[in-house]
């Protein structure tokens, strides 16, 4: 285990899994972010956040201060919505943030509302996170009681309300405009952009949408300073980052690290290497939607620029590590089923394309596919790069792209294995499925069980 030369701030005691309630938060200087923001002009707060270089932690990595600056002047009311839908497969860092640091998130909501001149913030929490919603609500109640929320926050005469709103099981509601439609009480259908939410968002009013980790960064930046944030830097990626590392590493978990860390260090130094000392087959570096990396790319620096240079995206910083027992065709079929299931169905390329790709992949995986199928698949999916194939760049939201990239990238990385499947009439990994929880369910001869849908 490497010796870290920096202080963790987001989840310093993640292993303890304890909620920091109001009393504890105040002991450590809690709500200083909001108090500081109250002394600053909105413009100044936005400038500090711009100066820190903070970029969105939800997936797209858009500079946060710049986004806040897009709000049209003098149009009110404005809203803040916090994206706590966290449904990108592999990602599980917002849940510990909400369950362990609820008051830091509220602190961030207040500071952000002051910066963007909003009086109400909605935290949209995915339905499966029952506990997160309960903890957040209880912390919000505490904050109202203490006079930190409501019509006269900290006795300043300013008004900020924070509300929890629960989703009910739909990946697409993490897409910012779908989140808004869902919050308005409709099916979670994304909207065409422009207009961007900053201009016309919730209830048609100017709205800022940020990820939980983004908002929770704001109080740290205000209290410790933009320079502290910038002291962790790789190219244009500043600050510490929460990486969710899952799959076949010995010690999976949420890591808090500067973005100078390499993939190799992450896997071998921080996560104890690969189970059974197996070899890495491939890595998905930024949530299931992004193109794959191969073993020769393990020295990739895990910043936004570093991963871009390797041909993928840092996305939500969810790193899925797969060892050599994993069939890449099977793996991408699993992901393809996910996107087929989660496509909202509004646009034809995404709705039909995701189902079509999944059907072909099932044929390749289970037998019965021809080389023509692989060609068709490639023509739909493209090469794992933006605006290739029949879906990417041709749909309302980025779920369309996300359904195509993994497939295109899997073919680029493992074409020979796709061909082998076709030639041999199906997957030859079939009787080697020993994947239960590390090795706890080891059973090499186990019957092969399919995905449900």
């Amino acid at each position: 285990m490497p010796v870290d030369t920096f202080d963790k701030v987001y989840l310093p005691n993640i292993e303890e899994n304890k909620t920091e309630w109001l009393q504890d938060y105040l002991k450590g200087g809690g709500y200083d972010g909001s108090k500081k923001a109250l002394e600053m002009a909105p413009e100044t707060i936005i400038n500090v956040v711009k100066d820190s270089g903070l970029r969105g932690r939800g997936g797209a990595g858009f500079p946060t201060g710049v986004k806040w600056g897009f709000l049209p002047k003098d149009v009110h009311p404005r809203y803040l919505t916090v994206n706590a839908d966290e449904s990108e497969p592999g990602t599980c860092k917002d849940r510990p943030l909400m369950e362990q640091r609820p008051h830091t998130l509220i602190d961030g909501c207040i500071a952000t509302c002051l910066a963007i001149e909003a009086e109400a913030a909605y935290i949209y929490i995915r339905g499966e996170y029952y506990k997160s919603a309960k903890v957040m609500q209880q912390a919000i109640d505490e904050a109202y009681e203490a006079g930190f929320l409501g019509d006269n926050i900290f006795g300043s005469g300013k008004k900020v309300d924070v509300y929890v709103h629960r989703g009910a099981g739909a990946y697409i509601c993490g897409e910012e405009t779908a989140l808004l439609t869902s919050l308005e009480g409709y099916r979670g259908y994304p909207r065409l952009k422009p207009p961007f939410p900053a201009v016309s968002g919730l209830y048609g009013k100017p709205t800022i949408i940020n990820n939980v980790e983004t908002i929770i960064s704001v109080p740290f930046i205000l209290t410790k300073g933009a320079d502290w944030f910038k002291s962790y830097v790789h190219e244009r990626s500043t600050g510490l980052r929460l990486y969710s590392v899952s799959g076949h590493v010995k010690k999976p978990g949420v890591l808090e690290l500067p973005m100078t860390v390499t993939l190799r260090e992450m896997i071998y130094d921080y996560c104890g290497g690969i189970r059974n000392d197996h070899d890495v087959k491939f890595v998905i570096p930024g949530g299931s939607s992004v193109p794959w990396l191969l073993p020769h790319q393990l020295d990739t620096v895990m910043s936004m620029e570093g991963v871009n240079a390797a041909g993928s995206f840092l996305g939500s910083a969810a790193v899925m590590v797969l060892d050599h027992t994993v069939c890449p065709v099977w793996a991408v079929t699993n992901l393809s089923a996910f996107y087929r299931h989660e496509s909202c169905g509004q646009c034809t390329p995404c709705r039909e394309g995701s189902a079509w790709m999944h059907k072909i992949l099932m044929r390749i995986e289970n037998g019965g596919a021809t080389m023509a199928d692989l060609e068709t698949l490639e023509s739909i999916a493209g090469t794992g790069k933006p605006n290739t194939g029949m879906i990417s760049g041709k749909s309302i939201c980025a779920l369309g792209d996300a359904s195509a990239w993994p497939v295109g990238s899997a073919i680029q990385c493992f074409r020979d294995e796709f061909v082998k499947h076709i030639e041999e009439g199906g997957c030859s990994y079939r009787n080697k499925r020993f994947w239960m929880s590390g090795d706890k369910f080891v059973n090499e001869t186990a019957e092969h069980h399919p995905r449900w849908h």
Partner: protein, 157 residues
């Protein structure tokens, strides 16, 4: 008995979170209220919710049918939502699901005969670093092994 009877105060508290002209935002929270009480959302409940929120029953159904967590049929007393997405799948989720179905006699659709369990394979539940993972009712369980599964499920009456 109507499911929302006597809940007027709670409902108004929910609606107060949103601007008065956007009462429809209360639709998901009120549906959750129904499901928490009944375990599922029946067509009769949908009509009630429609009246309370001020939309048509068809609009409520449109929403219910979009969100996978709203159950349109009764579930078992303990509803299991097992993750089958990649990080869990490579840690044995498919096998674990088959294990539960077989050992606890839970069919793929609808509850077990004794009404104790129902199971559903779902997409990523945000516990990928603790794969394989499942929700039993509202409680998340990760790092599952056959022993852990037995321990958890044997405590469900």
């Amino acid at each position: 008995m109507p499911v929302l009877e006597g809940r007027q105060e709670d409902i108004e508290k929910i609606c107060a979170k949103y601007p008065p002209e956007n009462r429809r935002s209360a639709l998901l929270p009120v549906l959750w209220m129904v499901q928490e009480k009944e375990g599922w959302v029946s067509q009769d409940s949908m009509r009630e919710v429609a009246d309370v929120v001020g939309v048509t029953a068809a609009e409520v159904y449109e929403v219910v049918s979009f969100y996978t967590m709203f159950q349109q049929k009764p579930t078992g007393r303990h509803h299991i939502a097992f993750c089958q997405t990649l990080s869990c799948a490579v840690c044995g989720a498919y096998e674990a699901i088959a294990y539960i179905c077989e050992k606890y006699n839970v069919p793929k659709h609808g509850p077990s005969e004794d009404g104790r369990f129902s199971i559903e394979a779902v997409e990523c539940i945000g516990a990928c670093t603790e794969a394989p993972a499942m929700l039993v009712g509202e409680t998340l369980h990760g790092n599952l092994t056959p022993e852990r599964i037995d321990e958890i499920l044997s405590n469900c009456e």
